[in-house]
Symmetry: C2
Subunit: 343 residues, 2 copies
């Protein structure tokens, strides 16, 4: 068996040039004082700026660690769908998606874009469709990130099983693209963004699917739950038991044709649990590098988020590793597969 | 080494006679229509009713599974601190705590009471002190359950590190009692009570402690985080890495003198992860039986929540098992230790 392509299905553009944040801050100021609202055209980031921000960071680490392709989406914590109204989110999403698209054009071998949506709390999800269509049709995006809590920690949107979300699902099915279920920054002081809000959202999303029959309505819909599925694999027995109490089918039939987990779990015992509990067909390699945890683990001397090392040290055999690194990503993201085949 | 006493540190009175629920429903009706508000004295539950509800359920399973003592508190999902005002919570907590006390008197060898508090969203936590004092001084309670989200899924209380909670902590230190951090039912449709709200709360509470210096203010304060710590042990590397980014001490120094995890994880791989990652001094045996997951696991033929089987099948040696079953509980709950010694 030849070496698999190492596809990291979870990367965000966390290292975008400072001009992006400056523009966003002006936009936020413009919500209160429309005279300050910047135009999209006022954001100036050159190709050289983009190259530098990638080469010195993600690409450097990808080479160091030996990964080949990163599915690359706008910075999750900066999506901040709770800020302003739909127009604010629409302008911001368009700018962020365009930057990831440009990165994918500058580094076509290494970065494949995934879109954020211009979600806004309480707003009809149909409003997200034009940006989604543009990202798929014009930018070559292979998937989307879907925020189950655009309020940023108030959790006042309907569960993912609600018809509120169906316009997005219909488009996902039409385009045969999956969604990573990923929240953004928490503005609720109870929840630390990357320490609890992200993990809670993963668990919450899984349970929203478990209690519903969403995948009867959309048999081909695919969700990728990041951060190793939050608390789900660790409590797999609890979830199996809860499904049983609710007279749902076995989880492998009820959910595992549609739900996948990434490997953003930052220590060996966690990855070992994940690979022991979750069928290998449902695990996709990812690191979320450069993300929430950037340091070096004093217990190992390696980066916490160098998750490839944990996969290498796991019990997975060569065939299973091929699936985790490459095969599953090609299956869950058919547009990625088509893109790789077209090379 | 003699066989350890098997102490289950996490049991709720989920099988209380139906009269309790009926009284509660009348109380809830009484919030809108004070003429319907029942008096506490209108609740009639005989000792025989109590005996029957315990002997046929918890005690039967304890004998079957071989556990000796259960720390027994009112049903967590019924605490529902969001219902009504402080007076409603106060009447309800008093009734529920009295029932657990009566169970402990009827079965002194097997049940030791732990108190719920009359919390109410936004209300000064000082108001909880009289009930707490009664439960410790008159009812012989050895610990309390503390709800970090009395709103029931709105998460609008200050983090556990906030001075809002200090009156309770001061009393806990004075009495040398720990608190299990346990939410109640979720009235937020985003969160399934036992499938996501409980686990999210565990992770959230841990992270609230991690980001703060709470245990500098209260070096002897002890929290027991249930359900195996939510997502925490599975993501132990993430939490170590986040603490490192925040320039906090190593977690073992920063949190593990004060935070403990129970073993309510309902499958072997989860318990194996827990015992591999968390120091054995920080793990307390528990099953939360009879609780959220009452069925038999078709993969093993045993009850999901028969957690003793997982401990028996884990790598823990006899000394470690003594700690998990008995030693740690005696250390974390000194009033339990005193009670057992007085036998």
């Amino acid at each position: 068996m030849t070496s698999p392509l190492i596809i990291d299905c979870h990367g965000h553009y966390t290292t975008a040039p400072k001009a992006l944040e400056d523009w966003r801050n002006r936009q936020i100021a413009g919500i209160k004082d429309p005279s300050q609202m910047p135009k999209a055209s006022e954001l100036k980031i050159s190709d050289d700026d983009l190259r530098e921000s990638i080469e010195a960071n993600q690409l450097r680490l990808m080479k160091q660690r030996g990964s080949d392709v990163t599915l690359f989406s706008p910075r999750a914590s900066f999506m901040a769908h709770h800020i302003g109204d739909f127009n604010v989110s629409a302008a911001w999403a368009a700018i962020c998606n365009e930057l990831c698209y440009r990165v994918s054009k500058l580094f076509p071998d290494n970065f494949v874009p995934v879109a954020m949506l211009p979600q806004s709390p309480g707003v009809d999800t149909k409003t997200c469709i034009p940006e989604l269509e543009k990202c798929i049709n014009e930018y070559g995006n292979v998937g989307i990130n879907l925020n189950p809590d655009p309020s940023g920690g108030q959790w006042n949107s309907p569960p993912l099983s609600d018809r509120y979300w169906y316009p997005i699902y219909e488009k996902m099915v039409e385009y045969d693209i999956p969604a990573m279920i990923h929240v953004s920054t928490s503005c609720n002081p109870a929840f630390h963004t990357t320490g609890s809000h992200y993990l809670n959202a993963d668990t919450t999303a899984f349970m929203q699917c478990l209690t519903s029959d969403l995948f009867k309505d959309f048999p081909t819909l695919r969700f990728l739950i990041p951060h190793g599925g939050g608390a789900v694999p660790y409590h797999w027995g609890r979830f199996r038991g809860l499904a049983q109490e609710m007279k749902k089918p076995l989880l492998k039939d009820h959910l595992l044709n549609n739900i996948f987990f990434d490997t953003c779990v930052y220590h060996q015992p966690g990855i070992d649990l994940l690979t022991r509990v979750i069928p290998v067909d449902n695990i996709l390699f990812a690191s979320e590098m450069i993300g929430a945890v950037r340091g070096i683990d004093p217990e190992t001397g390696n980066y916490y988020d160098d998750t490839k090392r944990y996969i290498e040290a796991s019990v997975l055999d060569a065939e299973a590793r091929y699936k985790v690194y490459e095969g599953n990503a090609r299956r869950v993201f058919p547009r990625l597969d088509a893109r790789l085949k077209a090379r």
